[in-house]
């Protein structure tokens, strides 16, 4: 697991206020209800920071962010370099 993925997992656990929960890169987050749509905005912002990209609106759906692994794959696929 990359350092960025570890940072993302730590962020998500803080964001959902479940510090003792164990999740890995492939744990379903959106479809399981752990991360709701209100938290997705925070996740996208953090993903942009960790990958130094900008995720364009309209380019991603919640299912693209269902796991930490999918988040980074999505950023690689649709992310644009920051200006």
């Amino acid at each position: 697991m990359t350092e960025e993925a570890k940072e993302m997992i730590e962020y998500i656990l803080r964001r959902i206020r479940k510090p003792t929960l164990v999740i890995d890169e492939n744990t379903p987050l959106v479809s399981s209800g752990l991360v709701d749509s209100m938290a997705l905005g925070d996740v996208v912002l953090t993903l942009e920071d960790l990958t130094n990209t900008r995720i364009p609106p309209g380019a991603v759906k919640p299912k693209d962010l269902d796991t930490v692994a999918k988040m980074f794959a999505t950023a690689q696929r649709v992310g644009k370099p920051r200006k």
């Binding site: 399981s32 209800g33 997705l40 925070d42 309209g58």
Partner: protein
Amino acid sequence: MVRYGNLIEALEAAPGERPFVTAWVNEDEQETVTFAEFRRRARLQAGVLRANSVTGGDRVIIIMPQGILTMTVFIGAMMLDAVPALIAYPNDKVEPSKYRFGVAGVTANLNAKVVVIDEEFPDEILGHVSLGEETRLLRVGNGSGFGREEELPPSPGQRDGVAFIQHSAGTTGLQKGVALTHTAVLRQLAHLSQGLKIDSATDRIYSWLPLYHDMGLIGCFMLPMVCHIPLVMQSPLDWVMHPETMLQVISEHKCTLAWLPNFAFQFVPRRTRPSRRAQYDLSSVRVLINSAEPVRTSSMQEFQNAFAATGLKAGALQSSYGTAENVLAITLSDIDRPSGPTRIWADGRQFRNSHRVVPVSEGSAGSICFTSSGRLLPNHEIRIVSDSGAPLGENQAGEIILKSDCLFDGYYNRADLTAKAIVDGWYHTGDLGFCVDEELYVVGRKKDLIIVGGENIYPHDIEEIAASHRAVHDGRVIAMGVYNPDLGTEEIIIVAEVESEDLLANTVEIEREIRGQVTAGLGVSVGTVFLKPPKWIVKSTAGKPARSATFEKLQKEHPELNVE
């Protein structure tokens, strides 16, 4: 606009070359249609519907994603004098069987002629949609093969006919279709146009609100359509994943007016990096109306402070109170008041104990600050009444009941529910509020409805799902909303008794499963699940779980729930 015979007549009167709807996806992807082009596309959809035997009075259910196509289908149905009803599009979280239940309930209650879906409607959901024998499933798209533009007969101008049906959220809420006549909608829009001082030459509305919600449908679709002003719209999902884009769209398109639920006034500033705020220009904004949730001063202040450097006017943030049963709004604050809606401070203890508003000086210890939702729209009358229905005086909180010239026609096909809601001509809102100096302050809900991010959640729906878990004692569950100051909206909490004490050794797993089931069933997220030993929940004299008494007990064990 009451001068128009019906809503279609108002659309037909719009200048054809004027931009109507801009669907904004990102800076490189957006589509604008003029009023003339919108009418053309709506007529095309009317042709499709007519080819599928839809005629006047037929109900048409529309389950499509936010966009111009959905709007043209909605108007196309009205062009045939059919009665459209928009319901929420399925999302990734909703369990197909629950969705099927909701759609089946609505189609059965409305006895719909057709259910219209888009070309992208997910097959895994479609396989679960069961419709009555008389109901057709119809896919529509922008493709030319779906129908042809037809010359439709002029609108008959039926002012008293039902124009469309609005639904509130939740599987229970889906059974309550609010039937609104053309007359009621046009009167409401006339009041709003007057109160908001709409100028068709200069105003432009921004919206991310879902069209199946009254604020999205009325405030951000019917209002611009009838007042002939442009609308710039993005999908709710795109917005919630990129809240900052609201600022980008308003800046790019110089929007002047938007409706927002309270939580958005916190949600946007907290997800916009301070270093990026100054790049936006909000100087075009005349009014941002806080509605659909109880108005909180702190949320509006946070937005105002965060974006003061963008040129946002001091008095731009205003408030309103309303309900779908009155089309949209009941009150509106004075948009010319430079300091925004009126605020008052009241003694907190007196208010909690007796629902009496005893004014105190600003910021006094133990005080509660209330933000006004404004004054009544013209031809509106409210009373504040006690549980027994007795009128209460000023400064006393009670249920808000309403009479107006734009009240709904009743719940479609549900005379039983209508009779409970409208008593002697007064609509019982179920909301609690009080009046001071002719301004209305809304403080909460008499019913136990939970509002999360402007979305109505019925506790019963949650309790039913949680109670089905094998570890939970049947019927020993309470769901409620608790205000979360970090989110600026309510958060759902569940209190559930386990079948036996030993199950409390495995709370993490049980909690995860309950949370997942509720999310799958209702598409909402649960804040905290409190698992308690048998017989922990307080019972009422009737033997049912007592909501408020249980919450008080919970607050004693979990002081973090004591939020002002």
